[in-house]
Symmetry: C2
Subunit: 255 residues, 2 copies
Protein backbone atom coordinates (compact mmCIF):
# COMPACT_ATOMS: atom_id res chain seq x y z
CA UNK A 1 0.00 0.00 0.00
CA UNK A 2 1.14 3.54 -0.73
CA UNK A 3 0.14 6.24 1.75
CA UNK A 4 -0.95 9.68 0.59
CA UNK A 5 -1.34 13.19 1.92
CA UNK A 6 -3.94 15.18 -0.05
CA UNK A 7 -4.49 18.92 0.39
CA UNK A 8 -8.08 19.90 -0.34
CA UNK A 9 -9.99 23.10 -1.04
CA UNK A 10 -13.75 23.07 -0.79
CA UNK A 11 -16.80 25.29 -0.81
CA UNK A 12 -18.64 23.92 2.23
CA UNK A 13 -21.98 25.60 1.47
CA UNK A 14 -23.72 22.56 0.04
CA UNK A 15 -22.15 19.93 2.31
CA UNK A 16 -23.26 18.67 5.69
CA UNK A 17 -19.72 19.18 6.95
CA UNK A 18 -16.63 17.01 6.65
CA UNK A 19 -17.65 13.86 8.48
CA UNK A 20 -19.40 11.07 6.61
CA UNK A 21 -23.10 10.61 7.45
CA UNK A 22 -25.68 8.30 5.93
CA UNK A 23 -27.84 9.87 3.18
CA UNK A 24 -26.14 13.26 3.41
CA UNK A 25 -23.56 14.84 1.18
CA UNK A 26 -20.32 15.32 3.12
CA UNK A 27 -16.77 16.11 2.02
CA UNK A 28 -15.39 12.89 3.51
CA UNK A 29 -18.23 11.02 1.82
CA UNK A 30 -17.54 12.31 -1.70
CA UNK A 31 -13.80 11.67 -1.19
CA UNK A 32 -14.46 8.08 -0.09
CA UNK A 33 -16.74 7.60 -3.11
CA UNK A 34 -14.07 8.90 -5.50
CA UNK A 35 -11.33 6.76 -3.94
CA UNK A 36 -13.53 3.64 -3.88
CA UNK A 37 -14.12 4.13 -7.60
CA UNK A 38 -10.35 4.27 -8.20
CA UNK A 39 -9.39 1.46 -5.80
CA UNK A 40 -12.32 -0.86 -6.54
CA UNK A 41 -12.92 -1.38 -2.80
CA UNK A 42 -13.81 1.01 0.06
CA UNK A 43 -10.96 3.26 1.22
CA UNK A 44 -10.51 4.76 4.71
CA UNK A 45 -10.03 8.52 4.62
CA UNK A 46 -8.83 10.56 7.61
CA UNK A 47 -9.27 14.32 7.73
CA UNK A 48 -7.19 16.78 9.75
CA UNK A 49 -10.24 18.67 11.01
CA UNK A 50 -13.93 17.86 11.08
CA UNK A 51 -15.23 21.09 9.60
CA UNK A 52 -18.90 21.85 10.33
CA UNK A 53 -21.66 22.13 7.76
CA UNK A 54 -21.08 25.31 5.74
CA UNK A 55 -17.43 25.75 6.74
CA UNK A 56 -14.96 26.10 3.85
CA UNK A 57 -11.37 24.96 3.33
CA UNK A 58 -8.41 26.20 1.36
CA UNK A 59 -6.01 23.66 2.87
CA UNK A 60 -7.79 20.79 4.60
CA UNK A 61 -5.58 17.69 4.69
CA UNK A 62 -6.70 14.09 4.19
CA UNK A 63 -4.70 10.87 4.48
CA UNK A 64 -5.45 7.48 2.92
CA UNK A 65 -3.70 4.42 1.51
CA UNK A 66 -4.14 2.72 -1.86
CA UNK A 67 -3.02 -0.55 -3.43
CA UNK A 68 -3.69 0.82 -6.93
CA UNK A 69 -0.30 1.57 -8.57
CA UNK A 70 -1.59 4.70 -10.36
CA UNK A 71 1.10 7.45 -10.57
CA UNK A 72 0.52 10.31 -8.11
CA UNK A 73 -0.14 12.95 -10.80
CA UNK A 74 -2.71 10.74 -12.51
CA UNK A 75 -4.32 9.98 -9.15
CA UNK A 76 -4.77 13.70 -8.47
CA UNK A 77 -6.39 14.16 -11.88
CA UNK A 78 -8.59 11.07 -11.46
CA UNK A 79 -9.79 12.28 -8.05
CA UNK A 80 -10.63 15.74 -9.42
CA UNK A 81 -12.49 14.15 -12.32
CA UNK A 82 -14.61 12.08 -9.90
CA UNK A 83 -15.18 14.75 -7.23
CA UNK A 84 -17.87 17.44 -7.47
CA UNK A 85 -16.41 20.79 -8.56
CA UNK A 86 -17.01 22.18 -5.06
CA UNK A 87 -14.16 19.94 -3.81
CA UNK A 88 -10.68 20.03 -5.35
CA UNK A 89 -7.51 18.14 -4.55
CA UNK A 90 -5.04 21.02 -4.85
CA UNK A 91 -1.96 18.91 -4.15
CA UNK A 92 -1.18 15.28 -3.54
CA UNK A 93 1.99 13.58 -2.38
CA UNK A 94 3.10 10.24 -1.07
CA UNK A 95 3.56 10.13 2.69
CA UNK A 96 5.19 7.80 5.16
CA UNK A 97 3.02 4.95 6.45
CA UNK A 98 2.92 6.66 9.86
CA UNK A 99 1.35 9.82 8.45
CA UNK A 100 -2.19 10.44 9.73
CA UNK A 101 -3.93 13.68 8.71
CA UNK A 102 -5.31 14.31 12.21
CA UNK A 103 -2.95 12.59 14.63
CA UNK A 104 0.20 13.88 12.92
CA UNK A 105 -1.01 17.50 12.78
CA UNK A 106 0.86 19.97 14.98
CA UNK A 107 -1.18 23.04 14.17
CA UNK A 108 -4.05 24.56 12.27
CA UNK A 109 -4.65 27.97 10.81
CA UNK A 110 -8.20 29.29 10.39
CA UNK A 111 -9.62 32.44 8.84
CA UNK A 112 -12.99 33.98 9.68
CA UNK A 113 -14.39 36.66 7.36
CA UNK A 114 -16.97 39.28 8.27
CA UNK A 115 -18.33 41.46 5.44
CA UNK A 116 -18.84 45.02 6.76
CA UNK A 117 -20.44 46.89 3.86
CA UNK A 118 -24.22 47.40 3.70
CA UNK A 119 -24.47 45.33 0.52
CA UNK A 120 -22.82 41.93 0.29
CA UNK A 121 -22.05 40.97 -3.33
CA UNK A 122 -23.64 37.64 -4.35
CA UNK A 123 -20.23 36.30 -5.41
CA UNK A 124 -18.89 36.80 -1.88
CA UNK A 125 -22.02 35.99 0.14
CA UNK A 126 -21.31 32.25 0.43
CA UNK A 127 -17.88 32.85 1.98
CA UNK A 128 -18.48 35.57 4.57
CA UNK A 129 -20.69 36.44 7.51
CA UNK A 130 -22.49 39.63 6.54
CA UNK A 131 -22.55 41.99 9.52
CA UNK A 132 -22.99 45.61 8.35
CA UNK A 133 -23.87 46.96 11.82
CA UNK A 134 -21.59 49.10 14.03
CA UNK A 135 -18.68 47.28 15.67
CA UNK A 136 -15.87 48.65 17.82
CA UNK A 137 -13.16 47.00 15.75
CA UNK A 138 -10.32 48.45 17.84
CA UNK A 139 -11.73 46.77 20.96
CA UNK A 140 -12.14 43.53 19.00
CA UNK A 141 -8.45 43.69 17.95
CA UNK A 142 -7.44 44.06 21.58
CA UNK A 143 -9.69 41.18 22.65
CA UNK A 144 -8.38 38.92 19.86
CA UNK A 145 -4.84 39.15 21.25
CA UNK A 146 -5.99 37.96 24.68
CA UNK A 147 -6.64 34.44 23.37
CA UNK A 148 -2.94 33.85 22.63
CA UNK A 149 -1.27 31.34 24.94
CA UNK A 150 -2.00 28.04 26.64
CA UNK A 151 -5.52 28.03 28.10
CA UNK A 152 -8.36 25.79 29.17
CA UNK A 153 -10.87 26.57 26.42
CA UNK A 154 -13.94 24.86 27.96
CA UNK A 155 -15.97 28.08 27.91
CA UNK A 156 -15.42 28.29 24.14
CA UNK A 157 -16.20 24.66 23.28
CA UNK A 158 -19.57 23.25 22.34
CA UNK A 159 -20.70 19.88 23.60
CA UNK A 160 -20.53 17.30 20.83
CA UNK A 161 -16.82 17.23 20.06
CA UNK A 162 -15.25 13.87 20.66
CA UNK A 163 -11.61 14.76 21.33
CA UNK A 164 -12.42 15.77 24.87
CA UNK A 165 -9.41 14.19 26.60
CA UNK A 166 -8.25 17.67 27.55
CA UNK A 167 -9.79 21.10 26.92
CA UNK A 168 -6.36 22.75 27.03
CA UNK A 169 -5.08 24.19 23.77
CA UNK A 170 -2.29 26.57 22.80
CA UNK A 171 -3.06 29.49 20.55
CA UNK A 172 0.08 30.70 18.75
CA UNK A 173 -1.48 33.76 17.12
CA UNK A 174 -4.88 35.44 17.18
CA UNK A 175 -5.39 38.71 15.33
CA UNK A 176 -7.98 40.80 13.59
CA UNK A 177 -7.34 42.84 10.44
CA UNK A 178 -9.15 44.67 7.64
CA UNK A 179 -8.97 43.98 3.92
CA UNK A 180 -11.37 46.44 2.29
CA UNK A 181 -14.89 45.53 3.38
CA UNK A 182 -13.61 42.28 4.93
CA UNK A 183 -12.93 42.16 8.66
CA UNK A 184 -10.67 39.12 8.97
CA UNK A 185 -9.83 37.08 12.04
CA UNK A 186 -6.76 34.81 11.79
CA UNK A 187 -6.07 32.21 14.43
CA UNK A 188 -3.32 29.60 14.58
CA UNK A 189 -3.06 27.00 17.31
CA UNK A 190 -2.00 23.45 18.13
CA UNK A 191 -5.61 22.33 17.98
CA UNK A 192 -9.17 23.53 18.40
CA UNK A 193 -12.14 22.17 20.34
CA UNK A 194 -15.55 21.70 18.73
CA UNK A 195 -16.91 25.12 17.57
CA UNK A 196 -13.99 26.85 19.28
CA UNK A 197 -13.06 29.26 16.45
CA UNK A 198 -16.70 30.20 15.84
CA UNK A 199 -17.19 30.76 19.59
CA UNK A 200 -14.10 32.95 19.81
CA UNK A 201 -15.46 35.00 16.88
CA UNK A 202 -18.88 35.21 18.55
CA UNK A 203 -17.13 36.53 21.67
CA UNK A 204 -15.16 39.07 19.61
CA UNK A 205 -18.42 40.22 18.00
CA UNK A 206 -19.87 40.74 21.50
CA UNK A 207 -16.84 42.89 22.29
CA UNK A 208 -17.45 44.79 19.05
CA UNK A 209 -21.06 45.39 20.12
CA UNK A 210 -19.83 46.60 23.55
CA UNK A 211 -21.62 43.76 25.33
CA UNK A 212 -18.23 42.54 26.54
CA UNK A 213 -14.85 44.24 27.02
CA UNK A 214 -11.44 43.05 25.83
CA UNK A 215 -10.48 42.78 29.50
CA UNK A 216 -13.29 40.24 30.03
CA UNK A 217 -11.49 37.58 27.98
CA UNK A 218 -9.41 36.26 30.92
CA UNK A 219 -12.49 35.96 33.11
CA UNK A 220 -14.37 34.14 30.32
CA UNK A 221 -11.52 31.62 30.00
CA UNK A 222 -11.34 31.20 33.79
CA UNK A 223 -15.10 30.73 34.03
CA UNK A 224 -14.92 27.44 32.06
CA UNK A 225 -18.67 27.53 31.36
CA UNK A 226 -19.93 27.90 27.79
CA UNK A 227 -22.49 30.51 28.90
CA UNK A 228 -19.70 32.94 29.81
CA UNK A 229 -18.67 33.48 26.17
CA UNK A 230 -20.44 34.87 23.10
CA UNK A 231 -22.76 33.00 20.74
CA UNK A 232 -21.43 30.74 17.98
CA UNK A 233 -20.68 32.80 14.85
CA UNK A 234 -22.21 31.50 11.59
CA UNK A 235 -20.34 28.68 9.81
CA UNK A 236 -20.17 30.35 6.40
CA UNK A 237 -17.53 32.91 7.46
CA UNK A 238 -15.06 30.21 8.54
CA UNK A 239 -12.31 28.68 6.41
CA UNK A 240 -9.63 26.12 7.33
CA UNK A 241 -6.66 27.69 5.58
CA UNK A 242 -3.77 25.37 6.48
CA UNK A 243 -2.87 22.33 8.55
CA UNK A 244 0.66 22.13 9.88
CA UNK A 245 2.81 19.05 10.48
CA UNK A 246 6.19 18.67 12.19
CA UNK A 247 9.12 18.23 9.80
CA UNK A 248 9.54 14.60 10.89
CA UNK A 249 6.21 13.49 9.44
CA UNK A 250 6.87 15.51 6.33
CA UNK A 251 9.61 13.17 5.02
CA UNK A 252 7.52 12.56 1.98
CA UNK A 253 8.25 9.68 -0.33
CA UNK A 254 7.92 11.11 -3.79
CA UNK A 255 7.35 8.30 -6.28
CA UNK B 1 -46.49 56.21 -9.34
CA UNK B 2 -42.73 56.63 -9.04
CA UNK B 3 -40.56 54.89 -11.62
CA UNK B 4 -37.31 53.20 -10.64
CA UNK B 5 -34.11 51.97 -12.21
CA UNK B 6 -32.49 49.19 -10.17
CA UNK B 7 -29.00 47.85 -10.86
CA UNK B 8 -28.68 44.21 -9.85
CA UNK B 9 -25.87 41.74 -9.23
CA UNK B 10 -26.67 38.05 -9.08
CA UNK B 11 -25.13 34.62 -8.93
CA UNK B 12 -27.14 32.85 -11.63
CA UNK B 13 -26.08 29.31 -10.66
CA UNK B 14 -29.23 28.36 -8.81
CA UNK B 15 -31.73 30.26 -10.99
CA UNK B 16 -33.55 29.15 -14.11
CA UNK B 17 -32.47 32.39 -15.76
CA UNK B 18 -33.93 35.88 -15.62
CA UNK B 19 -37.40 35.38 -17.05
CA UNK B 20 -40.26 34.41 -14.78
CA UNK B 21 -41.54 30.84 -15.18
CA UNK B 22 -44.14 28.93 -13.20
CA UNK B 23 -42.75 26.73 -10.40
CA UNK B 24 -39.13 27.66 -11.10
CA UNK B 25 -36.85 30.04 -9.28
CA UNK B 26 -35.94 32.93 -11.59
CA UNK B 27 -34.36 36.32 -10.93
CA UNK B 28 -37.37 38.21 -12.28
CA UNK B 29 -39.59 35.98 -10.15
CA UNK B 30 -37.80 36.69 -6.85
CA UNK B 31 -37.75 40.42 -7.70
CA UNK B 32 -41.48 40.44 -8.40
CA UNK B 33 -42.09 38.57 -5.13
CA UNK B 34 -40.04 41.10 -3.16
CA UNK B 35 -41.75 44.09 -4.79
CA UNK B 36 -45.23 42.59 -4.37
CA UNK B 37 -44.47 42.22 -0.65
CA UNK B 38 -43.53 45.93 -0.46
CA UNK B 39 -46.31 47.25 -2.72
CA UNK B 40 -49.09 44.95 -1.49
CA UNK B 41 -50.11 44.15 -5.07
CA UNK B 42 -48.26 42.53 -8.00
CA UNK B 43 -45.62 44.74 -9.66
CA UNK B 44 -44.45 44.57 -13.27
CA UNK B 45 -40.68 44.26 -13.57
CA UNK B 46 -38.77 44.74 -16.84
CA UNK B 47 -35.20 43.52 -17.23
CA UNK B 48 -32.60 44.84 -19.66
CA UNK B 49 -31.53 41.37 -20.74
CA UNK B 50 -33.05 37.93 -20.35
CA UNK B 51 -29.99 36.13 -19.03
CA UNK B 52 -30.07 32.34 -19.44
CA UNK B 53 -30.06 29.80 -16.62
CA UNK B 54 -26.63 29.88 -14.95
CA UNK B 55 -25.59 33.27 -16.38
CA UNK B 56 -24.45 35.85 -13.81
CA UNK B 57 -24.80 39.62 -13.57
CA UNK B 58 -22.78 42.43 -12.03
CA UNK B 59 -24.94 45.15 -13.55
CA UNK B 60 -28.28 43.87 -14.85
CA UNK B 61 -30.87 46.67 -14.90
CA UNK B 62 -34.54 46.37 -13.97
CA UNK B 63 -37.31 48.96 -14.19
CA UNK B 64 -40.60 49.09 -12.28
CA UNK B 65 -43.08 51.56 -10.82
CA UNK B 66 -44.47 51.76 -7.28
CA UNK B 67 -47.27 53.69 -5.58
CA UNK B 68 -45.70 53.04 -2.14
CA UNK B 69 -44.11 56.33 -0.94
CA UNK B 70 -41.13 54.59 0.71
CA UNK B 71 -37.89 56.64 0.38
CA UNK B 72 -35.48 55.25 -2.24
CA UNK B 73 -32.75 54.29 0.28
CA UNK B 74 -35.24 52.41 2.42
CA UNK B 75 -36.66 50.70 -0.66
CA UNK B 76 -33.20 49.42 -1.60
CA UNK B 77 -32.71 48.06 1.91
CA UNK B 78 -36.20 46.51 1.99
CA UNK B 79 -35.61 44.80 -1.36
CA UNK B 80 -32.28 43.36 -0.22
CA UNK B 81 -33.89 42.14 2.98
CA UNK B 82 -36.57 40.29 1.00
CA UNK B 83 -34.37 38.95 -1.82
CA UNK B 84 -32.25 35.79 -1.53
CA UNK B 85 -28.59 36.61 -0.89
CA UNK B 86 -27.73 35.43 -4.42
CA UNK B 87 -29.49 38.57 -5.77
CA UNK B 88 -28.54 42.07 -4.62
CA UNK B 89 -29.83 45.48 -5.58
CA UNK B 90 -26.50 47.33 -5.79
CA UNK B 91 -28.02 50.69 -6.63
CA UNK B 92 -31.47 52.17 -7.00
CA UNK B 93 -32.60 55.51 -8.34
CA UNK B 94 -35.78 57.18 -9.47
CA UNK B 95 -36.18 57.33 -13.24
CA UNK B 96 -38.40 59.20 -15.67
CA UNK B 97 -41.74 57.57 -16.46
CA UNK B 98 -40.45 56.83 -19.99
CA UNK B 99 -37.55 54.75 -18.67
CA UNK B 100 -37.79 51.05 -19.62
CA UNK B 101 -34.86 48.76 -18.71
CA UNK B 102 -34.89 46.98 -22.08
CA UNK B 103 -36.36 49.45 -24.58
CA UNK B 104 -34.29 52.39 -23.32
CA UNK B 105 -31.00 50.46 -23.38
CA UNK B 106 -28.45 51.59 -25.97
CA UNK B 107 -25.77 49.03 -25.20
CA UNK B 108 -24.67 46.06 -23.16
CA UNK B 109 -21.31 44.90 -21.93
CA UNK B 110 -20.69 41.19 -21.26
CA UNK B 111 -17.73 39.30 -19.85
CA UNK B 112 -17.00 35.62 -20.47
CA UNK B 113 -14.42 33.90 -18.25
CA UNK B 114 -12.48 30.75 -19.10
CA UNK B 115 -10.31 29.22 -16.36
CA UNK B 116 -7.09 27.87 -17.91
CA UNK B 117 -5.29 26.18 -15.03
CA UNK B 118 -5.52 22.40 -14.52
CA UNK B 119 -7.24 22.87 -11.16
CA UNK B 120 -10.21 25.20 -10.82
CA UNK B 121 -10.60 26.47 -7.22
CA UNK B 122 -14.06 25.71 -5.76
CA UNK B 123 -14.57 29.40 -4.96
CA UNK B 124 -14.19 30.28 -8.64
CA UNK B 125 -15.82 27.23 -10.24
CA UNK B 126 -19.35 28.67 -10.28
CA UNK B 127 -18.25 31.75 -12.22
CA UNK B 128 -15.99 30.39 -14.96
CA UNK B 129 -15.90 27.79 -17.72
CA UNK B 130 -13.04 25.46 -16.84
CA UNK B 131 -11.07 24.65 -19.99
CA UNK B 132 -7.51 23.58 -19.10
CA UNK B 133 -6.73 22.14 -22.56
CA UNK B 134 -4.44 23.73 -25.18
CA UNK B 135 -5.80 26.81 -26.95
CA UNK B 136 -4.11 29.08 -29.48
CA UNK B 137 -4.98 32.23 -27.57
CA UNK B 138 -3.22 34.52 -30.06
CA UNK B 139 -5.47 33.23 -32.86
CA UNK B 140 -8.51 33.68 -30.59
CA UNK B 141 -7.50 37.32 -29.94
CA UNK B 142 -7.32 37.92 -33.69
CA UNK B 143 -10.69 36.23 -34.27
CA UNK B 144 -12.35 38.21 -31.44
CA UNK B 145 -11.56 41.49 -33.21
CA UNK B 146 -13.31 40.32 -36.39
CA UNK B 147 -16.73 40.54 -34.73
CA UNK B 148 -16.49 44.32 -34.32
CA UNK B 149 -18.85 46.29 -36.57
CA UNK B 150 -22.39 46.11 -37.90
CA UNK B 151 -23.26 42.56 -38.99
CA UNK B 152 -26.11 40.17 -39.55
CA UNK B 153 -25.56 37.79 -36.63
CA UNK B 154 -27.99 35.03 -37.68
CA UNK B 155 -25.25 32.37 -37.70
CA UNK B 156 -24.55 33.20 -34.05
CA UNK B 157 -28.14 33.27 -32.77
CA UNK B 158 -30.10 30.35 -31.39
CA UNK B 159 -33.73 29.85 -32.24
CA UNK B 160 -35.93 30.76 -29.31
CA UNK B 161 -35.14 34.46 -28.93
CA UNK B 162 -38.21 36.60 -29.35
CA UNK B 163 -36.72 39.94 -30.43
CA UNK B 164 -36.24 38.67 -33.96
CA UNK B 165 -37.33 41.79 -35.86
CA UNK B 166 -33.82 42.10 -37.25
CA UNK B 167 -30.71 39.94 -36.78
CA UNK B 168 -28.44 42.93 -37.39
CA UNK B 169 -26.44 44.16 -34.42
CA UNK B 170 -23.48 46.47 -33.97
CA UNK B 171 -20.54 45.29 -31.89
CA UNK B 172 -18.55 48.26 -30.54
CA UNK B 173 -15.71 46.25 -29.03
CA UNK B 174 -14.75 42.59 -28.87
CA UNK B 175 -11.47 41.56 -27.26
CA UNK B 176 -9.76 38.74 -25.44
CA UNK B 177 -7.32 39.22 -22.57
CA UNK B 178 -5.59 37.32 -19.77
CA UNK B 179 -5.85 37.95 -16.03
CA UNK B 180 -3.74 35.24 -14.38
CA UNK B 181 -5.45 31.92 -15.03
CA UNK B 182 -8.53 33.69 -16.41
CA UNK B 183 -8.91 34.07 -20.16
CA UNK B 184 -11.44 36.88 -20.44
CA UNK B 185 -13.59 37.86 -23.41
CA UNK B 186 -15.18 41.33 -23.27
CA UNK B 187 -17.85 42.33 -25.75
CA UNK B 188 -19.85 45.53 -25.96
CA UNK B 189 -22.64 46.09 -28.47
CA UNK B 190 -25.97 47.80 -29.10
CA UNK B 191 -27.76 44.51 -28.47
CA UNK B 192 -27.33 40.76 -28.61
CA UNK B 193 -29.46 37.99 -30.11
CA UNK B 194 -30.42 34.91 -28.10
CA UNK B 195 -27.22 32.97 -27.09
CA UNK B 196 -25.16 35.31 -29.25
CA UNK B 197 -22.32 35.95 -26.75
CA UNK B 198 -22.06 32.27 -25.86
CA UNK B 199 -22.01 31.34 -29.55
CA UNK B 200 -19.28 33.89 -30.29
CA UNK B 201 -17.25 32.39 -27.41
CA UNK B 202 -17.90 28.86 -28.73
CA UNK B 203 -16.60 30.02 -32.11
CA UNK B 204 -13.52 31.59 -30.50
CA UNK B 205 -12.88 28.31 -28.67
CA UNK B 206 -13.02 26.49 -32.02
CA UNK B 207 -10.41 28.95 -33.32
CA UNK B 208 -8.33 28.22 -30.19
CA UNK B 209 -8.59 24.48 -30.94
CA UNK B 210 -7.53 25.14 -34.58
CA UNK B 211 -10.83 23.83 -35.91
CA UNK B 212 -11.49 27.29 -37.35
CA UNK B 213 -9.21 30.18 -38.32
CA UNK B 214 -9.54 33.85 -37.41
CA UNK B 215 -10.02 34.53 -41.12
CA UNK B 216 -13.11 32.29 -41.15
CA UNK B 217 -15.14 34.76 -39.07
CA UNK B 218 -16.30 36.83 -42.07
CA UNK B 219 -17.45 33.69 -43.90
CA UNK B 220 -19.30 32.48 -40.79
CA UNK B 221 -21.15 35.81 -40.55
CA UNK B 222 -21.92 35.76 -44.29
CA UNK B 223 -23.15 32.17 -44.09
CA UNK B 224 -26.13 33.19 -41.87
CA UNK B 225 -26.70 29.59 -40.77
CA UNK B 226 -26.22 28.58 -37.17
CA UNK B 227 -24.30 25.45 -38.20
CA UNK B 228 -21.47 27.57 -39.62
CA UNK B 229 -20.35 28.79 -36.16
CA UNK B 230 -19.04 27.02 -33.05
CA UNK B 231 -21.08 25.36 -30.30
CA UNK B 232 -22.72 27.37 -27.52
CA UNK B 233 -20.22 27.93 -24.67
CA UNK B 234 -21.44 26.99 -21.16
CA UNK B 235 -23.64 29.55 -19.37
CA UNK B 236 -21.62 29.66 -16.13
CA UNK B 237 -18.72 31.60 -17.69
CA UNK B 238 -20.96 34.49 -18.79
CA UNK B 239 -21.69 37.66 -16.83
CA UNK B 240 -23.73 40.73 -17.81
CA UNK B 241 -21.42 43.46 -16.52
CA UNK B 242 -23.21 46.68 -17.51
CA UNK B 243 -26.21 48.01 -19.40
CA UNK B 244 -25.83 51.39 -21.07
CA UNK B 245 -28.48 54.07 -21.62
CA UNK B 246 -28.36 57.28 -23.64
CA UNK B 247 -27.95 60.45 -21.54
CA UNK B 248 -31.52 61.54 -22.37
CA UNK B 249 -33.15 58.67 -20.49
CA UNK B 250 -30.74 59.15 -17.63
CA UNK B 251 -32.30 62.42 -16.45
CA UNK B 252 -33.03 60.81 -13.14
CA UNK B 253 -35.43 62.33 -10.69
CA UNK B 254 -33.69 61.98 -7.36
CA UNK B 255 -36.28 62.20 -4.57
Amino acid sequence: MRHFKATLAYDGTDFHGWQIQPNRSTVQGVLKDALAEIEGVPVDVQGAGRTDAGVHALGQVASFALANPIPTDNLLRAMNRLLPEAVRVVSLEQASREFHARHSASGKFYEYRVWRDAICPPFVARYVYHHPYPLDEAAMCKAAERFVGRHDFRSLAAAGGDEVASPVRTIFSSALSRDGERLIYHVRGDGFLYHMVRNIVGTLLDVGRCRLKADDVSAILDNKRRSAAGATAPAKGLCLVRVEYPESTENRLEP
